[in-house]
């Protein structure tokens, strides 16, 4: 199946989806979001990318519509009035990234009502991991480690956690701090 990718602006999102539907792409496949934090250059307009895939079953072709929305104001027009089936996908992306789909269903789909935070945002930290000892920090032979190692997915305590004196850390710093190889040396 041939597939094309189209970038549209957030303001034209609803219009572009509706236009694609009249163009023959009348089967809604999926809708999802990606946190593109830290990928400056490619995503300098904003930090979340919302993607939907629509299929033209009769002609055997598909289109990926992509748009970028800013992190500090994550809002996008809902497309449920064009494809009702997009509702569940919007609710899922909406709660996992805290994106507000205007005109969509604001109820939660997977997370419990009392869950705080947006777990698929790259600056969401697994607090329990930062609080316990990592078994891989030990060196073979039991020698005291000269390297201070932090496991992947856990930000350095200088950036996130009790030892950060400046309060709320910058999301970009947290996301950057938690990436890297399987075992990272802590930056000083």
């Amino acid at each position: 199946m041939s597939e094309v990718s189209r970038r549209v602006s957030a303001a034209e999102w609803h219009e572009a989806v509706a236009a694609a539907k009249t163009d023959g792409y009348d089967y809604f496949d999926w809708l999802g979001a990606v946190d593109q934090i830290g990928r400056a250059g490619e995503f300098d307009e904003g930090d979340f990318e919302v993607i939907t895939r629509l299929v033209d079953l009769a002609a055997g072709r598909a289109v990926l519509l992509r748009t970028v929305i800013p992190r500090n104001e994550p809002r996008l027009a809902s497309i449920v009035d064009v494809f009702a089936g997009a509702g569940w996908h919007e609710r899922e992306s909406g709660e996992l990234y805290a994106i507000d789909f205007i005109g969509g269903d604001p109820r939660r789909l997977l997370l419990s009502e009392d869950y705080v935070g947006a777990p698929l945002r790259k600056d969401a930290v697994l607090g329990a991991r930062a609080g316990i000892d990592w078994p891989g920090a030990k060196e073979p032979g039991g020698a005291p480690s000269r390297r201070r190692m932090v496991p992947p997915g856990v930000p350095e305590p200088e950036i996130w956690g009790d030892r950060n004196p400046e309060g709320e850390p910058d999301p970009e710093e947290v996301a950057q701090s938690a990436v890297g190889g399987r075992v990272r040396r802590r930056r000083r």
Binding site: W134, P135, G136, K138, P140, G141, G142, R182, V183
Partner: protein, 101 residues
Amino acid sequence: MSHGAIRLIEANCTSCMICARECPSWCITIDSHTEPIPDLPPGARERTTNVLDRFAIDWSLCMFCGICVEECPFDALEWASDPVSGVTTAAGLTHEIEELR
């Protein structure tokens, strides 16, 4: 071979920590110390080897992904078909070397 549990082949383990570091669920604990290698030829420089003291898998955390089996460069871990037997406490799911053989 069904994936019931993971077996440790103690003789192959060099306590290199690779499995413990690769484990995404942090379920492998390793303690080791170094000992000088005995019976070196006369005049040889003294060398040490790692000796495994403790190797434990916490089956309450393990998600049976098999990354440790894949990553072990010395083939010291392998799949075993007998599943981990049930116990009444979570602490009882931490298996030491004796139970992992």
